[in-house]
């Protein structure tokens, strides 16, 4: 009797396991297949792309990548993205860390309110401010400049940066900075020579996280820096897609998509554990 039931149970378990497997497999394929297809298409010649979406190219057309890089202007957009992203991070991280350090270690009257005001920036939609921001940038002649875009990126990355770094500074033992102060270090020397270096893991996480977001950013750049000269990579690719939609070098366009994606995937792959933790912390608190 008992063994009969367990045979039946095993049978049910088997069916359940295969259903679960089918569900998970279908999901995984739906994530991976489009990405594989994109990569495959990026090394095919245009006639091959039309002939069959899954056909392999006779020989891989690596020239698609050099065409995208040179003739389609991806190199220029890539450089713009690199400049804006790097400049943002280089300024954002120190000033974010400075503010976070104050919030974590030097509470004052109203500091909670100020911290809350910063955190509020993590949830409200950017389009609420898009018109006033556009007007502000236009009246200060920062519209359509890399400097203007950088400053806006800094401003809109501050909430998340301060949120993560404040949490990080709070986890560092208090004895360290207290000892430094007692030894006669000034507040700022304590920060730059003791606490800032200790916060390196936190700074790296914040840098990676903001870096990916800025590298991918589209909406603000579309409104604030849309000339050929200042277009970042996402804008450049979007433009290329529009121009090439009906005719043109589709292989090169797909190569362009791969070029945008690769740096992000590499960084994600290296730091995926940290990225998960940070996304979660941000998501659940925010």
């Amino acid at each position: 009797m008992k063994s009969k039931r367990s045979v039946f149970d095993r049978c049910i378990d088997g069916i359940k396991a295969s259903l679960t497997f089918a569900f998970v497999a279908a999901f995984t394929l739906s994530v991976v297949l489009p990405l594989l297809w994109m990569t495959l298409t990026s090394v095919k010649a245009s006639p091959e792309i039309f002939a069959s979406p899954w056909g392999l190219p006779k020989t891989p057309h690596w020239e698609n990548f050099s065409n995208a890089w040179k003739s389609a202007g991806i190199a220029h957009y890539f450089a713009n993205s690199l400049i804006v992203t790097t400049a943002t991070l280089v300024i954002l991280i120190p000033i974010g860390a400075m503010a976070a350090y104050i919030f974590a270690r030097y509470p004052f009257k109203g500091s909670k309110l100020l911290f809350g005001t910063f955190l509020g920036g993590m949830v409200f939609p950017q389009f609420l401010v898009i018109v006033p921001l556009f007007a502000l940038m236009s009246s200060t002649h920062l519209l359509d400049t890399k400097i203007g875009l950088t400053v806006v990126y800094i401003a809109y990355s501050l909430p998340f940066t301060i949120f993560v770094l404040t949490g990080f500074f709070q986890t560092l033992p208090k004895d360290l900075d207290e000892a430094a102060i007692i030894d006669g270090c000034s507040h700022s020397r304590t920060f730059w020579q003791v606490m800032f270096p200790l916060a390196k893991p936190g700074l790296i996480v914040v840098g990676i996280f903001n870096g990916i977001g800025l590298w991918n950013e589209y909406s603000l750049a579309l409104v604030l820096a849309n000339s050929e000269q200042n277009k970042t990579l996402p804008l450049g690719i979007a433009n290329l897609a529009m121009v090439m939609h009906y005719s043109g070098d589709w292989g090169a366009l797909f190569a362009g998509l791969v070029i945008v994606m690769i740096p992000v995937l590499i960084v994600y792959w290296i730091f995926r554990e940290k990225i998960h933790q940070t996304m979660l912390a941000g998501a659940i608190k925010g």
Binding site: M98, P125, V131, V151, M279, A283
Partner: protein
């Protein structure tokens, strides 16, 4: 004496962040509410105070209601599928098999990609001349005419919703997976001893304990679906015939095509209020865990 140094230190270290944030975030937010009360076209200096006229106009604007309806569809259809898939995959992902490990490393890929890449990629997947979709349909027999998903009024919005699900699901899987991991081992063990199996265990143990994660997910879905922009703008620009128009693509058109800044800002404020109201409502409705707090 030490106190004076302290105050100066606090001020100098907060100043850069506070200044940039105040000028480029706080000030525009405050202005947004003001701008929505002005008739203001082009970047001219002539603004005319019109009170709530922009909002009255918006209220009678059919395109606005159509856009809002499309946002609602994306929330209802996209959101419910995302919740189901998110919950299911997060649940299935708990094991230690090789396959689940592989899944754990790829499920977040779409979410960290640029929306531009996602939008262009899916435009080509749906492309009638060479896309994956048509080659898939042809597996089941040759058709007379190739199917143009995004160009056909009836299927354009579903096309966008599918892409949205593909892009966004990973984030919710991550939330649910974290929620499941927080369920104490003892509770799971006890339920096993009590004979709670598979789906019963999922319903009686996993689901109630995920209540708070579920609430957070719902609020994120409200925010993300009512604020869809780049995906729609890049895939269809709201077309064909406004069949995929959403609030923010319409806002973009009003502001940067029609240069009607007053109307655009009123729309932005309305969008903000709607998001806040719906999120608040959802948090209120779901405040009470029907199974009781299990902490």
């Amino acid at each position: 004496m030490r106190n004076r140094g302290r105050t100066a230190f606090i001020i100098t270290y907060l100043a850069p962040a506070v200044l940039i944030y105040a000028v480029f975030v706080i000030w525009p937010v405050l202005q947004a509410f003001g701008f929505s009360m002005f008739k203001w076209s082009g970047l001219s200096q002539n603004k005319k105070f019109v009170g709530f006229d922009n909002f009255k106009q918006l209220f009678h604007d059919k395109i606005f209601w159509v856009s809002l309806l499309h946002n609602a569809w994306i929330f209802l259809f996209g959101g419910s599928i995302i919740l189901l898939v998110g919950l299911g995959i997060a649940h299935a992902m708990q094991g230690e098999g090789k396959f689940t490990k592989a899944l754990r490393s790829v499920y977040l890929f779409p979410n960290i990609m640029s929306l531009v890449v996602v939008a262009v990629l899916w435009q080509f997947i749906y492309n009638p001349r060479m896309g994956l979709l048509n080659s898939f349909i042809e597996l089941f027999g040759k058709q007379k005419q190739r199917f143009d998903m995004l160009g056909t009024p009836g299927t354009a919005l579903p096309g966008v919703i599918i892409t949205f699900i593909w892009y966004a699901a990973g984030f919710y899987i991550m939330l649910f997976a974290a929620g499941i991991r927080q369920i104490p081992e003892e509770v799971v063990e006890a339920s096993k001893l009590d004979g709670a199996q598979g789906f019963v265990r999922f319903k009686k143990i996993t689901l109630p304990l995920l209540w708070s994660v579920g609430r957070i997910s719902l609020v994120y879905l409200v925010i993300n679906t009512l604020n869809v922009f780049a995906l729609v703008f890049l895939m269809t620009t709201g077309g064909p015939d406004r069949k995929t128009e959403v609030m923010l693509t319409y806002l973009y058109e009003q502001a940067f095509v029609n240069s009607d800044y007053g109307a655009a800002t009123a729309l932005a404020v309305a969008n903000f209020v709607i998001v806040m109201a719906v999120s608040g409502l959802i948090l209120r409705i779901t405040r009470k865990n029907p199974v009781g707090e299990v902490r």
